[in-house]
């Protein structure tokens, strides 16, 4: 086999892996959109916030140290302990649940029945707020996140492909872990929504708010629940992305990577988020590989959007979205 084809194969594989990472973020969007019709722009910032909090707990940083020092002239920075990864993750998950409650109490509750664009803008405001809060709590410098996930090239895979094609294909261990985690996440979310009482309530709310209310489902509880789940999904995404490229401001921009995935897969479909992520990840890497050198490179910024746009012209509700029925 020629080098070009092998190289394209490697690019495809890595694209698929990147797609899984996009899907992790897109999943959080879909969950919230399904259950409340809110287009939650803050999902990317939630991932950043979760990752920052996780690193902060692990390293025993003093929250708001910078602010306290500025006001009281003290010189705090660390408590001086290091928490094991598991404890830190559990604590962070608790923080995300708390955050969901706060968001429900102070934002969503007051915005029931508003136009979708108002809710969308409110989540952008929330994104700004959380971004500022995360930076003030834990500092804005780039942090290294290490929860003990394997990293680096997978040698077994390289050896196998080497013996088959005579050319070792490169796959990052972290990407394999991410794929497994994403699969587990989708599986458990599907099981949760199909076979548990709360899952049924969740689907009922997603179907029709008013009907759900009238059979006695507490909308507020469901919203807290769904925002908590989205927060924990964001934590998972934050761990994966943070381990890959460090915890920094640019992590919040992965929301922008997840949007075309959503468009392609449909805003309301969990499998759509996964399949959309795979298509986008593979498509943009292959396009960059083949067409990038001809037109100046860095096409990843827009290719996903243009692909999704062209796709939507033919199928306006996305790949797996519910058919849009319009009546007068």
């Amino acid at each position: 086999m020629s080098d070009q084809i092998l190289f394209a194969m490697e690019v495809t594989l890595n694209g698929l892996m990147a797609g899984v990472m996009y899907s992790l973020v897109a999943l959080g969007f879909v969950l919230i959109f399904k259950a409340s019709g809110i287009f939650n722009y803050a999902q990317g910032v939630l991932a950043l916030f979760a990752a920052l909090t996780l690193v902060g707990f692990q390293n025993g940083q003093v929250p708001f140290a910078h602010l306290i020092n500025a006001i009281f002239g003290t010189n705090l920075h660390h408590f001086g302990w290091h928490l094991p990864a598991v404890v830190a993750i559990i604590l962070t998950a608790a923080v995300m649940v708390l955050l969901a409650m706060i968001v429900e109490k102070f934002v969503l509750q007051h915005l029931v029945n508003q136009a979708p664009i108002i809710l969308f803008m409110a989540t952008i405001g929330l994104a700004y707020f959380l971004e500022g809060l995360g930076d003030i709590m834990w500092g804005a410098d780039i942090k290294k996140l290490d929860v003990g996930l394997p990293q680096g090239a997978n040698e077994a895979f390289e050896a196998v492909t080497d013996s088959v094609f005579g050319f070792g294909l490169y796959i990052d261990n972290l990407d394999i872990v991410a794929t497994v985690v994403a699969a587990l996440l989708v599986l458990s979310l599907t099981l949760f929504s199909q076979y548990t009482k709360y899952g049924r309530a969740l689907r009922a709310v997603a179907d029709d708010h008013q009907a759900a209310l009238s059979v006695g489902i507490s909308l507020r509880f469901i919203w807290v629940l769904v925002w908590s789940i989205a927060g924990i999904v964001a934590l998972v995404a934050g761990i994966m992305w943070g381990s890959k490229s460090g915890v920094q401001f640019s992590l919040s921009l992965i929301a922008l990577k997840a949007l075309p995935v959503l468009m392609l897969g449909g805003f309301t479909s969990i499998p759509g988020a996964i399949v959309g992520g795979l298509i986008i990840g593979m498509g943009e890497k292959l396009f960059e590989f083949f067409a990038g050198p001809l037109i100046g490179g860095a096409t990843e910024n827009w290719f996903a959007y243009v692909l999704a746009l062209l796709f939507l012209v033919f199928r306006p509700q996305g790949l797996f979205g519910e058919k849009i029925i319009e009546r007068v």
Partner: protein, 358 residues
């Protein structure tokens, strides 16, 4: 007491359909124009022009433009930053290619070019609706910024990849370049804003505006009563993009002087202008002004208080500012989802009855 229709008799159709039917409103409008055109250019200094007035005037143009598309025609767009970049680069190319032509014509032509690009990216709106469309307009945002970054022709092959405005004059006064006085910048932007706002106000209350609003309220129903969705949506995209393109051209040529596309016209700009129209009020020209003023003044005010008064480090102040801006936006949306325009309307209702409300 002063603010009521009583005694304001209308004897012709022209009187009846004027923009400000109440006499007090009319006087207030003339008074504001007199201050803005007569007094302010004499009093203005560099700090006030650069920090507050010039950005306010330019953002007001962009906000009116986006309000036409989103507020009047109901098509949510997140591509504003990209369209401003089109205006800026079109203006730059025209300025450098035809140095002898007046800058005013270049700015308007830049708006025209942006209108063309806007129509192109508006085409999918016939199929895609709601949030799908909002996300689809991000394609315009990212693609256009990438294009201006990667194709050297757009920035005349300059080594830094930046575009910088050469000096151009109107009636002997420099309006772009390093030698521009504060009042010249202010006056140039003010004249364009006045003309465009007047045009927008009259467009939105005529046939075109009514068609836009019909499409916004329910596009299928509008189609059934004979509004052509193709021409209506595309005209909204064209006119909105014209305004945004003019704003982009002014933002680059008059306000910044030199610009780098990703920094000056990134996605943050799209969100900023969307915030302006949401906070000001969707579907209102006054709201565009109020929202632009709010979003321009807020950071200036916060910076003065946090860095100037409390003496905090700038990075800490920037984070606190981000939190406060975010929180204020949420609080504002909760308190008054219809924006400043609604508050203004309520205030006027109260004033009509004042001082004898019962």
């Amino acid at each position: 007491m002063f603010y009521r229709e009583a005694g304001d008799f209308k004897t012709s159709y022209v009187d009846d359909s004027q923009t400000f039917p109440i006499r007090f409103d009319r006087w207030r409008y003339y008074a504001i124009l007199a201050v803005a055109f007569g007094a302010a250019p004499l009093l203005i200094n560099d700090y006030w022009a650069n920090a507050v007035f010039v950005p306010f005037l330019i953002y007001a143009i962009a906000a009116i433009g986006l309000n036409i598309l989103t507020g009047y025609c109901g098509q949510v767009s997140l591509g504003t930053g990209g369209f401003m970049a089109v205006g800026a680069y079109a203006c730059y190319k025209l300025m450098t290619a035809f140095p002898e032509v007046s800058i005013l014509i270049h700015v308007l032509l830049a708006g025209g070019i942006t209108a063309g690009v806007g129509v192109l990216f508006g085409l999918p709106s016939l199929r895609i609706k709601g949030f799908y469309l909002a996300v689809a307009t991000l394609a315009a945002q990212f693609f256009l910024v990438w294009l201006f970054n990667k194709v050297p022709w757009f920035y005349n092959y300059s080594a830094s990849g930046q575009i910088s405005a050469p000096e151009r004059t109107i009636l002997g006064h420099a309006v772009t370049g390093a030698n521009t006085t504060a009042s010249a910048k202010y006056f140039f932007c003010l004249v364009i804003l006045f003309a465009l706002a007047w045009l927008a106000r009259n467009l939105t209350r005529g046939t075109v505006g009514r068609k836009w609003m019909a499409i916004r309220d329910m596009d299928i129903a509008a189609e059934i009563i004979g509004v052509n969705p193709l021409t209506t949506k595309l005209s909204a995209f064209a006119i909105s993009s014209f305004y945004i393109g003019v704003a982009g051209a002014l933002f680059f040529a008059v306000y910044l002087g030199a610009a780098e596309v990703g920094e000056a016209f990134g996605i943050q700009k799209s969100f900023l202008i969307l915030f302006m129209i949401i906070i000001g009020g969707l579907g209102s020209i006054f709201g565009s002004f109020a929202g632009a003023a709010f979003m321009v003044l807020l950071p200036v005010l916060l910076k003065n208080v946090l860095v100037g008064q409390l003496g905090w480090a700038t990075d800490l102040a920037a984070h606190v500012e981000l939190m406060i801006v975010g929180a204020l936006i949420v609080i504002f949306l909760i308190a008054e989802p219809h924006g400043l325009n609604q508050l203004w309307r309520l205030a006027k209702e109260k004033l009509r009855l004042w001082p004898f409300p019962h």
